[in-house]
């Protein structure tokens, strides 16, 4: 599944790196606890979160994640968007809640992160 499809499925808005929407995603992780996110490494992941601070972007960068989706209409700060832009991480925001957003992506074939 590519980021463009994620965007369409979640009726999300793109906040940065619009030129990277054709990037393929192989797994996803939904969490507000960044240490839990850091516990599982998987290539080409998308992070879904309701947490809004700079550490979300840094965590995604450490994990080589390609995309972050902010759920529940959470909106990252300009500083966060600038950092994501610099790193090349696509940032999306959706009105959907975490459970629903994860469910939609999972049922459309995007499997969980951390599988070995």
């Amino acid at each position: 599944m590519n980021i463009k499809t994620v965007c369409e499925l979640l009726s999300a808005r793109v906040l940065c790196c619009e030129d990277r929407l054709d990037t393929e995603l192989h797994s996803a992780c939904g969490s507000d606890m960044m240490s839990d996110v850091l516990a599982y490494v998987k290539d080409q992941s998308v992070l879904l979160t309701g947490l809004v601070n700079l550490q979300v972007i840094r965590t995604a960068e450490m994990m080589d994640m390609r995309c972050i989706v902010f759920v529940r209409s959470k909106h990252p700060s300009p500083e966060m968007i600038a950092l994501a832009e610099e790193t090349g991480i696509v940032v999306l925001t959706t009105d959907k809640r975490m459970y629903e957003a994860c469910g939609i992506l999972y049922s459309n074939g995007l499997q969980r992160a951390g599988q070995d």
Binding site: D32, M33, M34, S35, D36, L38, A39, V41, T49, L51, N53, L54, Q55, V56, R58, T59, E61, M62, M63, D64
Partner: protein, 140 residues
């Protein structure tokens, strides 16, 4: 055998917002050296967790990353309160972080276990009231 490359960073303990900057910088430099992506990821995640710990618990400290021919060594030194029971601190889910840190997405008791998970060796030297030194290595 070539001369090892050493990167040193002061980790600012005053500001949680800037926590992780040193790890981002290390990741950048290791990429420039052309090291394999999974090695870079393991080093930077372990260092990032350590850096966050130093900010939360120890009011900052010093991070030194040395790149040898066959491994990378990360040394994190602080003059924080020290760890009284290291075995307990290593247990997944155990945390002494305050609630405000949990609201920021950390303090789940996964930091030290994650650091161990991503490195080949990890050693903690800690004295209560003096400080803590964590030494980790990742084989290349």
């Amino acid at each position: 055998m070539s001369e090892p490359l050493v990167f040193t960073f002061d980790v600012d303990g005053e500001n949680f917002t800037s926590a992780g900057e040193a790890s981002v910088e290390v990741k950048k430099r290791l990429r420039q050296l052309g090291l394999p992506p999974d090695i870079i990821r393991r080093v930077s995640i372990a260092m990032y967790e350590g850096e966050i710990n130093m900010v939360i618990h120890a009011n900052g400290g010093r991070a030194t990353v040395t790149v040898f021919d066959d491994h990378i060594e990360i040394v994190l030194e602080d003059r924080g309160p020290g760890i009284a029971d290291i075995a307990l601190a290593m247990r997944e889910g155990y945390s002494t972080a305050p609630d405000n840190i949990r609201n920021l997405g950390f303090g789940a008791g996964m930091g030290l276990p994650n650091m161990k998970r991503y490195t080949d060796t990890m050693k903690i030297d800690s004295t209560v009231g003096v400080g803590t030194t964590v030494t980790m290595t990742v084989n290349i």
